[in-house]
Symmetry: C2
Subunit: 190 residues, 2 copies
Amino acid sequence: MKSNGNSIYSTLSARERILNTAHDLFYREGIRATGIDWIIAEAGVTKVTFYRYFPSKNALIYEFLEYRHHRWMTWFIDALQRYGGDISALIPALAEWFHDEGFRGCAFINSVSELGSSLPEVVSITRRHKQDMMSVIENMLPPSAKREQDSQAVALAVDGAIIRAQFDVTPDAALKVLETILRSLLPDWS
Amino acid sequence: MKSNGNSIYSTLSARERILNTAHDLFYREGIRATGIDWIIAEAGVTKVTFYRYFPSKNALIYEFLEYRHHRWMTWFIDALQRYGGDISALIPALAEWFHDEGFRGCAFINSVSELGSSLPEVVSITRRHKQDMMSVIENMLPPSAKREQDSQAVALAVDGAIIRAQFDVTPDAALKVLETILRSLLPDWS
DNA sequence: GTGTATTGGTAGACAGGTCTGTCTACCAAC
DNA sequence: GTTGGTAGACAGACCTGTCTACCAATACAC
């Protein structure tokens, strides 16, 4: 087996290389903007191999979103822990993400924008992702009768901040405005 | 000149028909998902006519965004007036939009998601659009030292609500959560 | 009214590229 | 033999953009 010297994933199996490459290209360039030949070339596989593991591009898109969900949630939970584990950890955690040079917004929001009409399954996948994000946020809030309501408000503001960070030149305003909102929403904001 | 009996814009000039058709298809189906042949067929023009008015698809995309900006801002300002003209008008105005059967989120956010990498000009166009939206919001708030800060927070929450309304089954939660945030943010919320 | 030029359109072919997906023939390792 | 790969060709559809040949309406000069 000839490995692709250019791929940063060359110790992985072919399937993993495809999935990781697709993840990077789909997120960076857009899903429709990424043809399967590009993924194939970057992953260092052939078309037969590609179709052995992913029966269609749409199947790959679903796998990409599940993979992205797992990967992002893992990062999110870890980052929140690293910054103290309570709700105020949201700001530095998101700052870490927004300042990442590869930041291109939320892959799920992007996929709804791009494919919401032609591949409507991505909408329900996004709903599940956002539900899980909100659950993580809810678990960081102290128990109260309005815990769920607050977590919905926080999650909605986080989505707003993600959007703003995506079109602004720098993410600083998005983070600052998000903090303003959270300070108003949450009485025990530190 | 043979008019296209199927086009709902058949009393308009060819250029206007193209632009209106592009607006509808780009917003409903996605920009990349809409080939120029589809626009041409729906607008009832030929390729020569299309290229007479729009030297490229990208030129049409820019025109589409400018046209969308003008159209949306006109609607936004009008809707806010219709619902009373103060900041609480935001909720029913957005409800009107979100409940529209053609609602597919914010065309500007969608274009950044879809084309942010391949046509980065859409990002600065989006920034301008969002700045104008925020100015309208600011003008609805009573004068105060934190008027600009509040308008930024409101605008960010509005973007969050747009996103949520886009992936939820119905927009009711998005509107309710937005109202919760605005109630916390703005002391004189009615 | 007629002829001409201009303007704004038509039908449709074409070129070359990209896209998704199907397939053949072959190889290496176990 | 099985598994997991390779190189690469192919088909058909779609995409953006270029071009030819022609037509109708209007304005203007005579």
